[in-house]
Homo-oligomer: 379 residues x 2
């Protein structure tokens, strides 16, 4: 798994620039890279405002980032798993830990099991149309009882166990869009008005109430002005981007900053296919449908002469048509000389979904295009 | 990831029994479990003939099993990746290492780079209809030049670098079958006659030529008598089985010996859905289409009262309808009391594809239903 640091930093700067223009907090989701070194790259971008708080997807990932002592303000953007109460207690005594709740059971459990004076911030997860997690934004009958409980646990008494921070949403259905306009429409007709209505309704009771929004498609496509309503944004995938984000319109192929280098192990000139050592255990089985070629699992990019690690443009019509556990089958278009791809050569492929690819067991980290090895979180 | 040792051993004994009836060598594929401890379970089944040779999917997995000094005869069932020549040289000096070739380039490269007196066995990979890797069984014009080269490198001269062992096939298209009859048909009309023809043609030149066949669907469904043509069988998935194998007809749901225990983090009674902490990073994104419910990503099994780790029958109509990176969305049928599934409870799910599930980064090993922890290979 090779990362092009220049492309990665360019993606980072663009997004930081937009957060600054919108004047909202930048709390990037770090599950995509899960890498302290790339976390440092973020911190070092001081010209663009730097980063001092992050989002992660699990408590173990929060522990990984907290362990470096560089990160002291971490949101775990996943409905709290109360079976991990010991980790929550430990982390909330060390850093500012923020979690998501969406039911009274979890709030009651936390109230019963947290230590006094925990640094635990709580967001209420709101569903603005995705339909996966979160309380539907208009289901006030489900929101009110949770806020009642959070209010009493956040009261000014000395034994504060957790503090209600505000409403958090993730427009995951933006991943189903296939144009910038569709992404904007979700933002304009769902995310923004639904979250604004919640703020208006509850800011009397909770004057410091914050609104947090999330996803890479929206943060990439929507203008800074249209993000100003929110207090923070939490995009994650944008550091790498991938073929799915390109299909959505959130990036161009040339912005994708990771590629998987795959050895060529077999060639079938009769059907113009190459078999690579690169399968589901290297890419994940995430697929991209609706491409001109149908469903694909990755796209081949050009080698760059004089460099063994950098890559060039996408080769038109050259893609992974299927992946099994370790094998990938690459279609070679008629425009390409079949003989230029020798047994033992390497093909570089852009992944469909970089978060899942980077998380594959087989990748312990990243080789940068400068030849440096950087480690990922060990699970 | 929980493994039911009793079910696992029953699956193992059934398959060993069939190999013994067919009087062919049993060389199980260990990529499914990738676990020395389960390797030991295999060895200990001496009443069923035991196991003294195995198949793996990568050279690093071969090194893992060779490191225990229990395994001295290992086939890497993947077209040889010549970029790993150093590992091949090292392993072939320590154990009997067998690899797969399917082009002259790889044979020439090995001939140039192997040490004298390497213990390297070579199978020619044959495609009997799957269409992924291997030379099509009838493409004699592609087979002959490779065998010519292998013949000279295996000659009786003292400097033998590699030895041609025979033909190896994997009927991977049996995974697309949805009935025992379809699996049998592939075996009867493709695998068996095509491999028999190769043996007949080449056994004059290579009297010790062996035939190796593979996959769990075929080995599960076809009778011992119909396997007698072959010298060895290499099923792998059967130790665990999974929902896909059940759909093929290779096993019943009750034979599946692994389940993923997933915490309940959110409940949506209005749409009768439960959200679990269990996503693509725990299951892989392998999906099963054509089920009564459409496409599914896992099926919920019943808890067993009095046991926190064992599971019972599949709950009809209760399945994972989608997986994202960490979330799974479970459909709860009307037959189930929604309130019996509390926040913080565990749901056990049978995986669609156990090989990929077991390989997920998040599982470092298995918890047995007896409560023992057994480690997997570290990547």
């Amino acid at each position: 798994l090779v990362v092009d640091k220049r492309k990665c930093l360019a993606n980072l700067r663009n997004m930081m620039q937009k957060a600054r223009e919108a004047n909202i907090r930048f709390r990037p989701h770090c599950k995509t890279h899960a890498c302290l070194e790339i976390g440092k790259w973020m911190k070092e971008e001081e010209d663009f405002g730097g980063v001092d708080c992050i989002t992660v997807s699990s408590l173990s990932m929060a522990e990984y980032f907290a362990s470096s002592s560089e990160w002291k303000d971490i949101t775990v953007a996943f409905p709290v798993n109360i079976l991990e109460i010991d980790t929550i207690r430990r982390l909330a005594s060390q850093i500012q830990l923020n979690i998501l709740v969406e039911n009274v059971e979890a709030v009651d459990y936390l109230q019963d099991h947290l230590q006094e004076d925990s640094n635990l911030g709580v967001y209420l997860k709101i569903d603005t149309g995705y339909g996966r997690t979160g309380i539907p934004a208009q289901a006030l009958d489900r929101i009110d009882p949770i806020l009642e409980r959070l209010k009493s646990s956040s009261s000014a008494s000395s034994n504060t166990k957790m503090k209600f921070l505000g409403f958090l949403t993730h427009a995951g259905h933006a991943y189903h869009c296939r144009s910038k306009e569709e992404v904007k429409q979700i933002h304009d007709t769902q995310t923004k008005p639904l979250m604004a209505a919640l703020k208006e309704r509850y800011s009397g009771q909770f004057p410091d109430l914050q609104l947090s929004m999330g996803d890479t498609p929206t943060c990439s496509v929507v203008s800074a002005k249209d993000l100003q309503l929110f207090d923070e944004m939490r995009p994650g995938n944008f550091v790498f981007y991938d073929l799915e984000q390109a299909a959505i319109g959130a990036c161009d192929w040339k912005d994708i900053s990771v590629a998987v280098a795959c050895p060529i192990v077999a060639k079938h000139p009769d059907r113009r296919e190459i078999v690579i050592y690169g399968g589901g255990v290297h890419f994940s089985k995430d697929r991209l449908s609706g491409e001109p070629e149908g469903t694909i699992f990755g796209r081949v990019v050009q080698n760059v002469s004089g460099s063994s690690l950098e890559w060039g443009d996408v080769v038109d019509g050259m893609y992974a048509r299927s992946l099994s556990q370790e094998h990938g089958v690459i279609v070679v278009p008629e425009t390409q000389d079949f003989d230029q791809y020798p047994i033992g050569g390497l093909l570089f492929l852009l992944p469909v979904h970089s978060c899942m690819t980077a998380d594959c067991l087989k990748h312990k980290g990243y080789l940068t295009t400068d030849g440096d090895w950087i480690e990922r979180m060990k699970n």
